[in-house]
Each structure stands twice: as structure tokens, then as C-alpha cells.
Amino acid sequence: MLAGRRVAEVNTLTEAPVPYPFPSPPSIFHPSPELGELQRTRPVAQFQLADGRTGWLATRSDDVRQVLTDQRFSRAAANDPDVPDIGPGAEAAGSIIGMDPPEHTRLRRLVAGAFTARRVEALRPRVAVLVDKLIDDLLKQPQPADLVEGFSLPLPVQVICELLGVPAHDRHTFHEWSDAVLGDASRDPEQAALAFGQLAMYFAGLIAAKRAQPGDDLLTALIAARDADDRLSEEELVVLGITLLVAGHETTANQINMMLVTLHEFPEQWEQLRAEPTGIPQAVEELMRFVQLGEAGAAFPRVATEEVDLGGVRIPAGAAVLPVLTVANRDPALVTDPDRLDVTRGLSTHLSFGAGVHHCLGAQLARMELQEALRGLVTRLPQLRIATPVADLHFKKGMIVRSLRALPVRW
């Protein structure tokens, strides 16, 4: 009877689900050792949450890519609150990230044009000016200064606010709400829902103001798409605005911080950039691959709408799969010596921006901001160093990304 089944299937049937999530990893520079172990021995493995709900973890880069691009895996089906997840799943419902084609396609088409490589390149000089201004102001401060408040947060906030047409001086107001929206399962779900509601009210007010006085920005363009062509509902408009605002700065700001913390840990890589600043674009790609932006490191869950063969394992219809991007980026099938940071690598087929229809909309914008940020810091603050031991860095509790309260630096 067993002879007819594939070996991997038999092993999976007889192996118990792994308890999930895993304990905090011993190092912020590498994925949990449990994830590496799974990638080597059980690349498609069943997990179980404390409350008994089960799902699957995909850890190899090929399998993760399949979960993200195979049409049989649905994001919309994963909005069900019973789907096991440890991230802000509920907030994805109603947002573009929680939709499948064709609903997803309809909304994505409305914004894709604003984020193409061509449009982003046109913004580069403006971003370079912002970087230099922020560094000018930083240099006036006593040392150690806080890089979060003085650089890594204001840069992407300013950029996305200008793009969207959100007044940047409202930053302190919406930043707390934005943090709560990105809370993980350890947080009270009420908090995230409340914060989302605050952001919705804020955007409703902003949209009303722009209807009265249109600007030359993406939000105005989206309002026109609604009012003139009925291409999206009022609710979709509000939620899209929130999604772009939150996604547009949280991840980039935290990536800037984590890039610097990581380069500080591997100083010969920083020296390499100081010596050859033309290598910064490749360095940004390698840091995208290497940096552990979140502890769990998984993208939003997908649900199989029919039975799917994933890496030789039969995923039943209705099962949830977590594509673990961080460990997929450390797959030896993707790069040799994957756990070594090498800023000269420049591999752009990492999975940090995802893949498939939900591939990060802002990827080119993020790349450009990160390149300009690193260029500014490497060339103007070549002696930049973190002024606190890594073990003493204070990460905010309960967020799906590693978000620092402050990053004290000296130059």
C-alpha cells in the first residue's frame, strides 16, 4: 500500500508537525537555526501553532517561488481568521495584499505606473537632495546622535508623502498608528484594528481636502480614477492609501537601520564600500538578500485552492502555506556560501521583494532610496559606527519587522 506513494509523502505523513513559531533566534544576523534545519531535512514541513491550528512552511527558494507565483495558491482565501498566521493577517483583508486576480489586477494597474523603474529614476535627484539635507542636519548634532529620528525614518516618510500627497508634518501623528498596524500576533488585535480605524479617518479627511483642492500627486490621481471612472470604491481608495503609506516607509526605514547594523557587524564589507562606492547598487541587493528584517521571516500566508504538489509534498486543498523568504534567501541552491555577506555579489533574484502578482510594488523605489541612503552615508560619514553594542539595541516589541526605537551613531 505504501509502495505507491512517493517517499517524501510517506515521511511527511509519519513526521509530526513542528511547533511554531520558533523561539527568537540567537543572532539577529541569521534566520532561526530551526529554519535552516528544515531547509536541509524537511523543506516542505507541517507546523502547528499553540492553539492547534496547522499549516505548512516552505523554506527552499524554488518552493517559495512556486507558492508566490502558482495561481492555485490564494491570498484572498487566506483572509479567513481561522488561517494560521503570526502576522497582521486580519489587516490584509480589504487591502490589495489580501486580494487575488482579477480584483487585485484592477487595483494594481491603477498604481503600477507610478512605481516603474523609469518614474523612480526621475525621483532620484530629489532623493539625493533629501539625503544630503538630512546628513547636513545630522552633522550639526552632538554625538552620539540617533540615526532613526535623524535619517532612516524621515527619508522614506518624506519620499512616500510627497509621492502620495500626504503632508509630511503629520508624520508623528500617523507613525504610531502605522506601528500598530504592523503588530504581530503577540499584540492585542484590538490595537491593530483601532490603529487602522484611525488611519482610515485620517485618510478620509485627506481625501475630502483633495477633492476640494486637487494636488499633483498619486492620491489625487486615485481620487480622479474613482470620481471620473469609478475604477475603485471609496473604501478601496482609503485602504489603498493606507497600504501605500505604511508599506512605503516602515520597511524601508527599518531596512536602512538593519543594513547599517549588519555592515557594522561585518566591517570589512563597509570598508569595501568606502573603497568602491560604485559597488553600492550591488551591495543594496546583497543586503536585501542577507538582512533579517523580521524574526519569523515569512511573507503573508497563501491557501491552496486545490491540491498542489510542492517540492514532492502533497499540499491538500484548503491548507495554508507560509513562504519563508529569509531562509529561502540563504538557500545554497540560490547562491554559494549563502550565509556569508558579500557586498560584491549583487544577486537580484533574492526573494526579499517576493515574487508573482504581489511582488513589492515599491521595489524600485525602495532600491533607489536604499542606494541613495547608503551612498550618502558611505561618502559623507565614512567613519560611521554604531555607538551601542548590538546586544543593547532596543527593538520594539511585537512587530513583524525588526524596528529600532533608536540607533545611536558616531562619525
Binding site: 507565483t69 495561481q71 486576480p101 503600477a112 505606473g113 533574484t349 515574487a355 521595489a363
Partner: protein, 76 residues
């Protein structure tokens, strides 16, 4: 013999960064090559809206669609 549906030509340029949006939107029209990049399964085919969606979704605007006979550009 006259065909009622126009035939299009599609090309994926060097700018492709393997984001994979096209593969997900039009899996019958694009495949992933050994280099990780996207390649059209057929360079000429019957008009297909899914390919327009794919072209619109490409972050690099690497996908170009044109009329097969005249070369007149259709997308992006």
C-alpha cells in the same frame, strides 16, 4: 483567409529582474528560464488581455506588446 482576432507579438527585454508578476498573471504566455528571467512561450499569438495585464504589472516595463503584422506598439 482572414482571421477575426488580431495577432500580437510580445518581447521581454534585458531589463527583466525576475519579479515574476507576468508569470503569475499570464502563466500560459510566459515561462521562467534557467536564468530566472521571464521568456514568452510564443512570440506571436492571438490577442490576449492577460498579456496586457502582465505588461502593465512589470516594474521594469520590460514587456513590450505590438501588432504582429505592422509592429505598431500596444503596451506598455
Amino acid at each position: 483567409m482572414v482571421t477575426d482576432q488580431p495577432r500580437w507579438r510580445v518581447h521581454v527585454g534585458e531589463a527583466c529582474i525576475a519579479a515574476g508578476s507576468c508569470l503569475a498573471l499570464a502563466p500560459h504566455r510566459f515561462t521562467r528560464g534557467a536564468d530566472g528571467r521571464s521568456h514568452p512561450t510564443d512570440t506571436v499569438f492571438k490577442a490576449d488581455d492577460a498579456v496586457l495585464d502582465a505588461a502593465a504589472s512589470c516594474p521594469m516595463e520590460a514587456i513590450t506588446v505590438s501588432h504582429a503584422q505592422t509592429g505598431e506598439p500596444i503596451a506598455p
